[in-house]
């Protein structure tokens, strides 16, 4: 199955801008999110969290809380069985069950400010909060470490005495905070640098940033006395919530039904379990449903920011602008437990370039911060700040236009990617050409204004996917997918189903099925949903079409091969097949009881063939020389979508990713005090971009079809966040002549750079 230009021209639904099917529910307030479910007898859960960055948990006395009227259950570490070390895939990052149970509820030690210590369920939130204050916890406070470089030093406070560095034979057999060393690359980097005329080498630092979804984590768990349970939850992957919660609570997987609510943003931060096993354990004790809703403070202190990092990037180049070698060392924060996206960072670091000599060494480092979670293109956005800044500096030294420099070295079809495989058709050159010819790239700049460009790469993924498509008796279609709809995917699914069946997308109703309704589905993550659930949807439609043709063949008493499916109806393949009036979907649906019963199509598959997506961007900024404030004047994004099923929502992904990148570049950071307590766990002090901070974001959809998807889809959710911080850093350099090596580039930092002697 591959797309051709002719097929593309013939598509009737794909590429249009229909109204999304969940739109009315969401503009009227009807849509139900994680905190919106109310059940009879439901209790309110609340969590007691560590005020310390690092401490031994000596004792927890819950007796006074349990005695408070209205308190129905209290749980601590003693209510969860310990888990052996076992690493499993969880979205875009692997996790270890031994760590998952400890992150959900502290056991031997608390490892960060906000680490859960106990939880209560009570008849009201005010009673629950009073109960938390009655729980007495004895801590032995230990020295802590926040900064990644400090955590790697000999003599640093050790989080886990059993931790040894994996992947480094030279590492001593002594406790360490460095959990892993990874290395990627090929060629001879030393020879490459020897052949270079110009070398640029820089060191960069970035701070952790939070995904910042507006809906805090929320769930309702209900356990019944016969060992069955249900969870309603805002998540990117309800099948993984089921796996983890069943494991942590000791349930048979099939006895736990998890239903995904509408999800109020995730960006990778809702890939993991947090309160779900706690809510279920409370419900098991209380014999009543328990709702757990995080406050914003809890979201910031205890759910996944992404890694901050320290990194060194070195690139060598000939005088005529050909890169001869690229080298990087990446030190990534993992938070309190191992598992940063440093491998993805290593693989993507130089993926925009055709290289002969490349090496990236990465270290995964624990410190007294919340365990990092995936965030939109995890790992790639952090390293791109360094790499794309160095590339800009190199272009300046060469006196080359930065787009021309990137074009001269661009990764393209047939090139051995810096992470190993040879690239198929990809759209980086097309993105760069779009940026070069866009009006944004030639608008004259005024005083204190500057322009920067940068590029980014993301893999995209497929994965386990299961969908059901049922034909209703009136000829309408009910499609059930298992990937939560985080940004309009029910619209794209209805469009792909309609395109395949030859019907109006309004005749297709898409829902997200619970864990009992479908086989295992991997998360909504890795830009996989429209690609993978879409590919499975088309496969299901094709199976249904085969069944529809066979029903028509039965009615006409001819061979199924003599029936074709065109424009939503069965037709004789030719006049030789017989002279029959076409049978529409509605007619075949009506006759279904007499031709063999219900008509359905389904697909259960591990989807392969994800198409990588490249993006290039240009940012125009104005720097206030008095305050150091950076204003974004213009921003243009070009990203390869493969094929945009619904262009408006593709543009929306590019714009949203860019806005997140702008926050990362200019404002957002986790700030800790000397005791390791988070100082800005709220939206006032952790400032995400607001409408008045941003201009319109011009989005260019490049379409280099993915040959492994029936309509050419690649996956579009992540790439556009990757280049943003470097594009802005490069624009600030263009405006001020000063190169910033640290994120965020907040007014004090920019002002210091302008006024400093550097």
């Amino acid at each position: 199955m591959s797309i051709t230009e002719q097929e593309s021209a013939e598509m009737k639904v794909v590429g249009t801008r229909i109204s999304r099917p969940d739109g009315v529910d969401k503009v009227t307030g009807r849509a139900r999110y994680g905190a919106d479910l109310m059940l009879p007898g439901m209790l309110q859960g609340a969590t007691l969290r560590s005020p310390h960055a690092h401490a031994k948990l000596i004792s927890i006395d819950t007796s006074r809380a349990e005695a408070l009227p209205g308190v129905k259950a209290v749980v601590t570490r003693d209510d969860f069985k310990d888990q052996p070390s076992e690493i499993v895939a969880a979205g875009e990052l692997p996790v270890n069950y031994r760590d998952v149970v400890r992150n959900m509820m502290a056991r031997e030690k608390v490892l960060y400010d906000g680490h859960p210590v106990a939880a209560v369920a009570a008849t009201s939130m005010s009673v629950a909060k009073k109960a938390l204050k009655l729980i007495q916890v004895e801590y032995e406070v230990l020295p802590h470490v926040i900064n990644v470089v400090d955590a790697m030093k000999p003599g640093a406070p050790i989080l886990d005495e059993n931790l040894r560095t994996q992947g480094d034979e030279s590492a001593p057999d002594t406790p360490t905070n460095i959990s892993k060393r990874v290395q990627t690359g090929f060629g001879d980097v030393d020879a490459g640098f020897a052949a270079a005329d110009i070398i640029v080498e820089r060191e960069y630092d970035t701070e952790p940033v939070h995904q910042g979804y507006i809906e805090p984590q929320a769930c309702v768990a209900s356990y019944t006395e016969d060992g069955h349970a249900e969870i309603w939850v805002s998540t990117q992957g309800h099948f993984l919530i089921r796996s983890f919660t069943a494991r942590l609570c000791g349930l048979d997987v099939s006895k736990l039904k998890v239903t995904p609510s509408e999800i109020g943003g995730g960006f990778g931060g809702k890939n993991n379990v947090y309160g779900e096993p706690i809510a279920l354990a409370l419900s098991r004790k209380a014999h009543r449903p328990v709702k757990m809703v995080m406050s914003r403070n809890e979201v910031f202190r205890a759910t996944g920011p992404t890694s901050g990092a320290n990194m060194k990037v070195k690139v060598g180049c000939t005088r005529d602008g050909k890169i001869t070698a690229a080298d990087a060392v990446l030190n990534y924060q993992a938070g309190a437990f191992p598992g940063s996206p440093v491998m993805q960072a290593s693989m993507t670091a130089f993926a925009c370039y055709a290289l002969e000599n490349v090496r990236v060494v990465g270290f995964d480092v624990v410190s007294n911060r919340p365990k990092v979670a995936a965030y939109r293109a995890p790992g790639a956005q952090v390293v791109a700040f360094g790499v794309e800044s160095v590339m800009d500096e190199m272009a300046k030294k060469l006196n080359m236009d930065p787009v021309e420099f990137r074009l001269k070295n661009a990764a393209k079809e047939g090139v051995k990617a810096s992470f190993g495989p040879t690239l198929g058709p990809v759209g980086l050159v097309e993105c760069l050409e779009e940026i070069k010819s866009h009006p944004n790239y030639s608008v004259p700049l005024g005083p204190n204004q500057g322009r920067g460009v940068a590029s980014g790469f993301w893999f995209n993924i497929g994965g386990e996917t299961c969908v059901n498509m049922n034909l209703s008796e009136d000829g309408t279609v009910a499609l059930m997918v298992g990937t939560p709809d985080i940004g309009g995917s029910r619209a794209s699914m209805s469009m792909m189903a309609a395109e395949a069946l030859g019907i109006d997308p309004k005749s297709v109703t898409v829902s997200v099925g619970d864990t009992n309704a479908l086989g295992f589905n991997f998360l909504t993550a890795g830009s996989r949903t429209t690609f993978a659930s879409g590919k499975a949807t088309v496969e299901a439609a094709q199976k249904m079409i085969l069944e529809l043709r066979s029903r028509a063949a039965k009615i006409w008493d001819i061979s199924v091969d003599a029936v074709v499916w065109e424009e939503g109806e069965a037709r004789p393949a030719s006049s030789n097949a017989g002279d029959f009036e076409p049978l529409t979907l509605a007619e075949l649906a009506k006759k279904a009881p007499k031709t063999g019963g219900p008509i359905a199509g389904h697909a259960e598959t591990n989807v392969q063939g994800a198409g990588p997506s490249y993006a290039s961007q240009v940012a125009d900024v104005e720097v206030d020389p008095e305050t150091g404030q950076v204003k974004i004047l213009r921003f243009t994004v070009a990203q390869d979508a493969g094929k945009a099923i619904h262009p408006s929502y593709v543009e929306g992904q590019y714009q949203g990713a860019t806005a997140q990148g702008i926050g990362w570049a200019l404002n957002e950071a986790y700030i800790y005090d000397e005791n390791g307590r988070l100082e800005n766990p709220n939206f006032l002090d952790y400032r995400v971009p607001v409408a008045s901070d941003l201009p319109m974001i011009d989005s260019i959809i490049v379409e280099v079809p993915n040959p492994n998807h029936p309509y050419g889809v690649r996956g579009i959710g992540e790439t556009s966040i990757i280049p943003v911080t470097a594009a802005i850093a490069n624009a600030i350099e263009s405006a001020t002549g000063k190169r910033l090596l640290k994120l965020p580039m907040s007014p004090p930092e920019v002002l210091e750079a302008i006024e400093g002697n550097a």
Partner: protein, 160 residues
């Protein structure tokens, strides 16, 4: 604890409720009265997801106590559409794809309605500054701002 009796008006209906003195208007709307369209994103007045209109003023329901609703007229997202049709802002948000996850959408719609009642012909900059109290993490605001400007234009045409 002693609960207070409060009589108020929500979307034109007279409503009575009992309220703990520490409960916010947001707690009352969501947990006691099941007006779940009003969302809690922060509980500190920083995100605007709980925007409601109280006696014509835009407020964050999380920053107002339930008891303060006594004798007030409150409008929530549930009261924006008429029985027959969506409010032009609601329709334009759908037409312009101005929502992705949709969680901030009720707050944006209520805030935008309050804007257009004060200023039927806002500039892009005025829209951006008025909506600066509402956080959206999905869209980058581009399509939201376009939807509000388009709705304003349509509403001016309808009232002309």
């Amino acid at each position: 604890m002693t609960k207070q009796h409060v009589t108020t008006s929500i979307n034109g209906d007279e409503i009575e409720f009992l309220c703990e003195t520490e409960q916010t208007l947001l707690d009352i709307l969501r947990d006691e009265l099941q007006f779940i369209g009003t969302k809690e994103g922060c509980g500190s007045g920083d995100c605007g997801a709980c925007s409601v209109i109280v006696d014509g003023r835009l407020v964050c329901a999380c920053l107002m106590l339930g008891v303060e609703a006594q004798g007030k007229k409150i409008e929530t997202i549930e009261g924006i559409a008429t029985k027959e049709e969506l409010h032009p802002l609601q329709q334009k948000f759908i037409d312009h794809a101005a929502l992705q996850c949709g969680f901030c959408t009720p707050g944006f719609l209520v805030a935008s309605k309050a804007l257009l009642e004060k200023n039927p012909n806002p500039t892009e900059t005025e829209v951006r500054y008025w909506l600066a109290g509402n956080l959206c993490r999905c869209t980058g605001y581009d399509k939201i701002v376009r939807a509000v400007l388009d709705a304003a234009q349509e509403m001016r045409g309808a009232s002309a």
